[in-house]
């Protein structure tokens, strides 16, 4: 599991992220994406610094972080597996893939395997609706995922 960032690193890196985004209109989402790209989640220690930088309340920043599915408040596993739950994938056998993934990893949605290797998240549509079931593994999209292909994909991420 990733360890929380050291305070000095956090302040330095976050300061740079804030100044990189200073010219944007409505900078909070781009800032949070950059924070998550840096640490894999939005560390709680970052909230007061972001709030001060943007001159908004800590509660407002927390409200935004907690509203969006993408932003994590705690670290994820080393690999992120997202499986599409939307209707078009269901129509092509998505339920079977969902169940197989949960059984294989031994976790439910939003869960991380005991060794911290893989986090399983649902996703609602990857726009691959004619070639489903679809999934996204560490940001890479895959389609025509049946249980056999799922097994290969999970093996590739060490699960």
């Amino acid at each position: 599991m990733p360890t929380p960032p050291a305070p000095v690193d956090l302040e330095t890196r976050l300061g740079a992220i804030l100044s990189d985004h200073a010219q944007l209109e409505g900078p909070l989402l781009p800032i949070l994406h950059a924070v998550q790209a840096e640490w894999g989640y939005v560390p709680p220690e970052a909230l007061p610094i972001i709030a001060e930088g943007l001159n908004i309340s800590r509660a407002e920043v927390h409200g935004v972080v907690s509203f969006y599915h993408d932003f994590r408040e705690e670290p994820a596993g080393r690999h992120m597996v997202k499986i599409c739950r939307a209707e078009a994938c269901q129509a092509r056998g998505g339920h079977g893939v969902e169940a197989a993934a949960k059984a294989r990893l031994g976790v439910d949605w939003h869960g991380t395997t005991a060794d911290g290797g893989v986090t399983l998240e649902p996703v609602y549509c990857l726009g691959l609706c004619a070639t489903g079931p679809a999934a996204m593994i560490d940001g890479r999209v895959v389609a025509r995922v049946d249980e056999k292909r799922l097994e290969t994909l999970l093996s590739e991420v060490g699960a």
């Binding site: 209109e25 900078p27 989402l29 078009a88 726009g127 004619a130 070639t131 895959v142 389609a143």
Partner: protein
């Protein structure tokens, strides 16, 4: 020896089925054989069951092969890209292509999406050059004449929306492209952004010049990494070549734009929620009025349009409003890129004039189910769209026509289900999805969706008395919700209940016995 020109798509739907490995195999095999190859990474032609679909240009004609795996490449070279089991003939002669009217998607799959020269060679920038010679009022007239209506689903006339922004007084106005294409069964926005990004840039520039907006944003969902990458590259190229910037094509008009990435909230596809998100707030729906056209992004007049609406603007100005308007049916003018998806044999993007019947789309063009079983239901318009039974397959594809049957065309996604689908389960999923994605602002949506799941579960346990309760709850959500999420979730739920009552009553009967 002349170069062999080979096209391997870079559309996410192709990449997701190993198009990258196919491209690598093509280059590796060509090197072994000492054949000079010009590899073009095009968008997808939209025949997604054939992806990865590779094309070879011979004597100016493109020939298609698919679906190609990396292992097929050697044999395809052996056959000199001619007679082979995967050969489909000239691409344009394939029935699926011949039956279409491609206006918005004319260049998608044809050109290298990041070649501005190829874009111009295929009619690109003609519309913008023409619009730059016109007054804002004349641009509005052209838009109104075309009959273009919002392709995001609401179907509001685009020209009227633009005119409201044009006539508003403000020191800053904005163009916002809604690329939060979250509806299941839809991928037209993604394919356009990945296959012909300059058309969106051109459409947004025309909108900006018309209404006096110097800045634009594309709010693009994070689930589309390839589209984000392609759009960012295209904007960079357009800026370097003077299509965007302080003086668009040397006209003196300023217009520039950037991509903003969403964060996985379905409700941000609703325009006011999108604007809040763009401002860096929670994606909570705003009450209307004020309309975004008057008080939109940062309180300034803002055009918020769907990607397909904006991507269609260039062809309207290139070929003229009358050319576009002459396609269609009733008040649904022009063409619509229909996305045929789910359990279907031939799934993909099919652009055609409004008016094709649902049955023709599913049975003739889609070829029925992929599983070979009978079609049970078709959901049109995403997770907020109604389930249509076969009895309603003669409904022509049009805004008013679908509305008349208790449905909506939405973003024109058609998702096919075979007879194994459990419609009670689909009704439950619609409520569950609404509960997960509700922004929480209004009670009918926030609480209604949770109660909806519980009520469907009661029906599943055999409690028939919960059926009128579900109907009542749907009425409340429909009439009392602030936006389409809570307001339209009753469409899939009630259509499932109305058209497939057996799936709801089966358990009740068993319980009674």
């Amino acid at each position: 020896m002349t170069k062999l020109k080979i096209y391997v798509p870079r559309d996410a739907a192709a990449l997701a089925v190993d198009a990258e490995k196919v491209a690598e195999a093509v280059l590796a095999e060509a090197k072994i054989r000492e054949i000079e190859v010009e590899l073009v990474r095009n968008g997808s032609r939209g025949m997604l069951w054939l992806e990865p679909m590779v094309e070879i240009e011979k004597d100016g004609t493109r020939h298609a092969f698919g679906p190609v795996t990396p292992h097929d490449v050697q044999a395809l070279f052996d056959a000199d890209w001619g007679d082979h089991a995967l050969a489909l003939g000239p691409t344009e002669e394939i029935d699926w292509m011949k039956r279409q009217t491609r206006l918005t998607f004319a260049r998608v799959g044809v050109i290298d999406p990041l070649s501005l020269d190829a874009y111009e060679a295929h009619g690109g920038l003609k519309g913008l050059r023409r619009a730059l010679e016109m007054t804002g009022a004349a641009i509005i007239d052209e838009m109104k004449e075309s009959g273009l209506r919002g392709r995001g689903g609401a179907g509001f006339p685009t020209g009227i929306k633009w005119d409201t922004v044009r006539l508003a007084e403000a020191d800053q106005k904005y163009i916002v492209a809604n690329a939060d294409e979250g509806d299941s069964g839809t991928f037209a926005d993604r394919m356009l952004m990945e296959g012909d990004p300059f058309s969106l840039i051109e459409g947004m520039a025309i909108a900006g010049i018309c209404v006096g907006a110097t800045r634009g944003y594309i709010y693009l969902r994070s689930e589309y990494p390839e589209a984000i990458h392609t759009m960012n590259e295209a904007i960079r190229i357009a800026r370097a070549r003077g299509v965007l910037g302080a003086s668009v094509l040397g006209s003196g008009f300023a217009y520039d734009m950037e991509v903003r990435v969403g964060a996985g909230a379905y409700v941000c596809g609703e325009e006011t929620s999108l604007l809040n998100s763009l401002e860096g707030k929670r994606g909570v729906v705003r009450a209307k009025p004020p309309l975004p056209a008057i008080e939109g992004f940062l309180g300034k007049p803002t055009v918020v349009n769907n990607i397909i609406s904006l991507g269609t603007v260039p062809v309207i100005f290139e070929k003229g409003a009358a050319h576009y308007r002459d396609f269609g049916l009733g008040r649904s003018r022009g063409t619509i890129p229909i996305q045929i998806a789910g359990n279907v044999k031939y799934g993909g993007l099919f652009e055609t004039a409004f008016g094709t019947s649902l049955g023709a789309l599913v049975d003739e063009i889609g070829g029925g189910t992929a599983s070979g079983r009978p079609v049970k239901a078709v959901q049109v318009g995403g997770p907020l769209g109604a389930y249509f039974p076969r009895d309603l397959f003669d409904t022509p594809f049009g805004y008013e026509e679908f509305d008349g049957q208790g449905g909506l065309i939405g973003h024109a996604g058609v998702v096919v289900f075979d007879d194994t689908a459990d419609m009670l389960g689909m009704a439950r999923f619609a409520m569950e999805f609404c509960a997960v994605e509700s922004c929480g602002k209004c009670t009918p949506c926030r609480i209604g969706a949770v109660r909806g799941v519980e009520t469907v579960d009661r029906i599943a346990r055999g409690d028939a008395s919960a059926i009128p309760l579900l109907t009542d709850l749907c009425d409340t959500m429909k009439d009392g919700s602030l936006c389409a999420l809570g307001g339209f979730t009753p469409y899939p739920v009630m259509s499932a209940l109305t058209h497939f009552p057996d799936d709801f009553h089966a358990n009740a009967k068993e319980a009674a016995e």
